[in-house]
Symmetry: C2
Subunit: 110 residues, 2 copies
DNA sequence: GCGCGTTATTTTAATAAATACATAACGATA
DNA sequence: TATCGTTATGTATTTATTAAAATAACGCGC
């Protein structure tokens, strides 16, 4: 009947750094090579996608993505090695959190 | 530098049942004996407080609060034994979650 | 230099959420 | 029956969030 659920993220002094939505965005950027394409594919406004990317990049010592504007094809955005590492790191965290919630759900007494 | 944080709640088919804000509301109702007083003390509109209380009560088999309108003093709201049990239950859950986040924060590699 | 498609930025519009306001219902007490 | 302060509920207003639109900047290739 009842179950435990929640959301989990990694934060720095400036607030949220990596969370569920941001990781999906990074993965879509990796797939498409473009912020605008990634935003479109997940029905997010370009503006919001750009702001999330900018927030992540500014907070991280090593950039998670590299962006180029202009040039052949207009430019694009690539996920760096560090970006890929962060994606994996968050997914591992999320998996542990899922297990935690599962255990806590079983322990609920109603 | 970076740390893991999150929010956790208990949900049923109709969505959220108990979360951080709802527990604080219950505690304030317990203190004051009134939804309107509790709402005022936490700068929440009466309407929202009432809706949260109503949502919790409707979802629980045993009522978390009993409300009386009219009568001496205009009426009021009392937290039941079940309500107190749910408050404790959530707080225990939250403590475990805090520990989880602390451990995960230490394991972060940046 | 011009066109192309993307990133970057500002401005405007639309939507959603929260709050405020108004009013009825309630029931013990005097 | 009139008063009181609370619960209960509908409606209007305001605020906050989100999305949309418009425009500039960029730099390669033709």
């Amino acid at each position: 009947m009842f179950k435990v659920n929640g959301s989990i993220w990694i934060e720095g002094q400036k607030g949220a750094f990596i969370g569920f939505g941001r990781v999906i965005l990074l993965e879509n950027i990796k797939k498409s090579g473009s912020i605008s394409e990634a935003a479109k594919s997940m029905k997010m406004s370009y503006r919001q996608a750009w702001e999330l990317v900018d927030s992540m990049n500014k907070q991280s010592k090593k950039a998670l993505v590299v962006r180029t504007s202009g040039g052949a094809g207009g430019g694009g955005t690539m996920v760096t090695e560090e970006g890929e590492r962060i994606i994996k790191l968050y997914k591992q965290l999320q998996n542990k959190f899922r297990k935690f919630n599962k255990v806590q759900s079983k322990n609920l007494v109603f």
